[in-house]
């Protein structure tokens, strides 16, 4: 199979650095170029010494590398539409970050653009390529706990806003400046926008769709943040499954400009834990474990250190296979739309104080 000529664009997303190892290792890829949003993003990129040239102008990158076949769009959420459009017009396949856009009009236009151009647009929801989630899916499919009755999931992390300031900016993160609710000084665009995984996972595991959702924001943990950092949601799937989600930034962090050791103040910087009650049993699951533990440098704090995130390998393997074998990715724009609608439902519920029917139905 001819290696796919791939590039990265934006370089301001929190997941940017997670692609480097896989793009370099995977023999089905030829990573030819990167294009940073600005000089600062380029400077950060260069710290990782990938050996891949980095540009500041996408047109220049494309002029010098006209054979680029695919691009990982690793940028702020409000840049995705223009970048998807840019790629689709050039017939370039797209690996999009987890939030293509919260603007449903833009979202539908993205679908139309990709369909018209015949390009693959895969959404980066890397949890699907995690070995624990794979086991979880197998257990549920094998009927280990029977029919799912209740689903509780956390997708809680530290806040990346100090390293990736756009994630604390309502316009860059949510796409527009929308107050959370009357009398609340905060805006949409915080922790919720960072954590779509559990909204997606429940759809896969139940095989059902969202019915309604109710969400509440709590007081923020971080002073001065313009967006929400603590919230929770409850709701129901159309098959009756009751769910409870915590997608907060509930783990405090040091204000590092480049993620690295000592970032976390709470011992574990990220947690996706799921408990599922079925009519024949129950599952408790920690998607990121086992780990190693230390209280060494830089802050001598007790720290849970992850072992290895191999999700990115499977994610990229699927992307390459979809390009070369003309397949549709598991997480494609059309599938992902309902996940985004459910997240929007949370914001609507926070604003109204009532349940929100997902998709406005």
């Amino acid at each position: 199979m001819k290696p796919v000529k791939i590039a990265m664009m934006g370089m301001t997303h929190g997941h940017t650095r997670k692609y480097y190892q896989t793009l370099l290792d995977n023999q089905k890829l030829d990573w030819v170029a990167s294009c940073a949003q600005d000089a600062e993003a380029k400077k950060t990129y260069e710290l990782y010494k990938t050996g891949v040239p980095c540009y500041l102008d996408p047109e220049e990158m494309y002029r010098k590398h006209p054979d680029i076949e695919a691009i990982v769009i690793a940028s702020a959420n409000d840049r995705h539409f223009e970048q998807v459009k840019w790629c689709a017009e050039k017939g370039i396949h797209i690996l999009s970050m987890k939030i293509p856009t919260f603007d449903m009009k833009e979202y539908d236009e993205m679908i139309a653009l990709c369909d018209k151009a015949g390009v693959v647009c895969q959404i980066e929801l890397e949890m699907h390529y995690n070995s624990v989630v794979r086991r979880l899916k197998k257990l549920i499919a094998d009927g280990a706990i029977g029919k799912i009755k209740s689903f509780q999931a956390t997708n809680i992390t530290l806040s990346p806003v100090w390293a990736f300031p756009w994630q604390g900016d309502p316009k860059s993160s949510f796409g527009s400046v929308v107050p959370l609710k009357a009398g609340d000084p905060r805006f949409r665009g915080g922790a919720l926008c960072d954590h779509p995984h559990i909204f997606d996972l429940i759809r896969h595991l139940t095989g059902s769709s969202f019915d309604y959702i109710y969400a509440e924001v709590a007081p923020n943990l971080r002073d001065g943040l313009k967006v929400e950092d603590m919230l929770m949601a409850v709701g129901k799937m159309k098959d009756g499954t009751a769910f409870l989600f915590d997608p907060s930034w509930s783990r405090l962090e040091e204000k590092l400009k480049v993620p690295g050791p000592g970032w976390e103040r709470f011992p574990k910087r990220m947690e996706v834990n799921v408990t599922i009650t079925g009519d024949k049993g129950m599952i408790s699951c920690d998607c990121f474990g086992p780990n190693v533990y230390h209280n060494g440098a830089p802050n001598d704090r007790y720290t849970v250190q992850y072992t290895y995130f191999d999700e990115w390998i499977g994610l990229i393997d699927e992307f390459v296979a979809c390009i070369r074998e003309h397949k549709t990715p598991l997480i494609n724009l059309k599938w992902h739309k309902e996940t985004i609608q459910a997240m929007l439902g949370c914001y609507e519920s926070i604003q109204s104080g009532k349940i929100a029917k997902v998709g406005g139905k």
Partner: protein, 250 residues
């Protein structure tokens, strides 16, 4: 271990990433590629992380290693001890130079010394019921920082999934998506064989390291019999405790 399945997985990795040809064989319960013994313990991600911590300044001034390994009845405790002594040399970055031990049937407690003066304790037991999952623990105590591959304040192993179904409770820990379906031991033996075939691990180093570890384990049993510590001469030359290059995602 299912060698056929392991070799199929090894072929998959070799074809995907590129590596020399080779296959895993098993002799006396230990895996080899050709004449080179595999050191799967060095490939386990938790050991990789601990090794990095000793090298990247997370831990400073290593003083003591406290290791333990427990397996079901019938397990080869000398082989288990050899693995742990190899990991002690690897994580302590220095060869074992002295061992004292007290054995009692299916268990042996070992106090060892590395050439750099680091103390090592190893607790080995083959008393778990047949079919039980093995359990081990590696703790590194340094002047600055303590690191461990088990959680603080618990003596139960972390499992990714606990499933309470019709047949009681089952636990699952999956650590490698590309090798999904292989057992924990099978995964790290395949990864070790792959590292060797990719030349990330050096066959000469592994042969020498395993020879040292098996010798030290044998001497531990001799020390128990003689009730006296056994000394091992350090050979100058090949550094058998250097780290192996592995993939990183942070």
């Amino acid at each position: 271990m299912n060698i056929k399945k392991m070799n199929k997985s090894l072929d998959f990795l070799r074809e995907k990433y590129g590596a020399a040809k080779g296959e895993i064989t098993i002799k006396d319960g230990h895996c080899y590629v050709g004449a080179t013994p595999l050191l799967p313990g060095r490939m386990e991600r938790k050991i990789v992380e601990l090794k990095k911590m000793t090298e990247n300044g997370t831990l400073e001034g290593v003083s003591t290693l406290r290791f333990a390994s427990f397996a079901p009845k019938g397990a080869d405790i000398e082989g288990m001890l050899a693995k742990e002594l190899d990991l002690a040399a690897y994580l302590g970055a220095s060869d074992v130079v002295r061992v004292m031990a007290v054995a009692n049937g299916l268990a042996i407690n070992v106090l060892a010394k590395l050439a750099n003066d680091v103390n090592v304790s190893v607790e080995i037991g083959a008393g778990l019921p047949k079919g039980a999952e093995p359990y081990d623990r590696h703790e590194i105590i340094a002047k600055r920082g303590v690191a461990c591959d088990q959680t603080v304040d618990t003596h139960t192993k972390h499992e990714s999934i606990r499933c309470w179904g019709a047949d009681g409770m089952e636990e699952f820990t999956d650590v490698d998506t590309e090798l999904f379906g292989l057992s924990y031991d099978e995964i790290w033996n395949v990864r070790a064989a792959f590292a060797l075939l990719q030349k990330r691990a050096d066959a000469k180093v592994w042969k020498a390291a395993w020879a040292k570890a098996t010798k030290a384990a044998k001497l531990a049993f001799a020390a128990d019999k003689s009730k006296a510590a056994k000394t091992i001469a350090v050979k100058k030359g090949l550094d058998t405790n250097q780290s192996i290059k592995v993939a990183e995602v942070r």
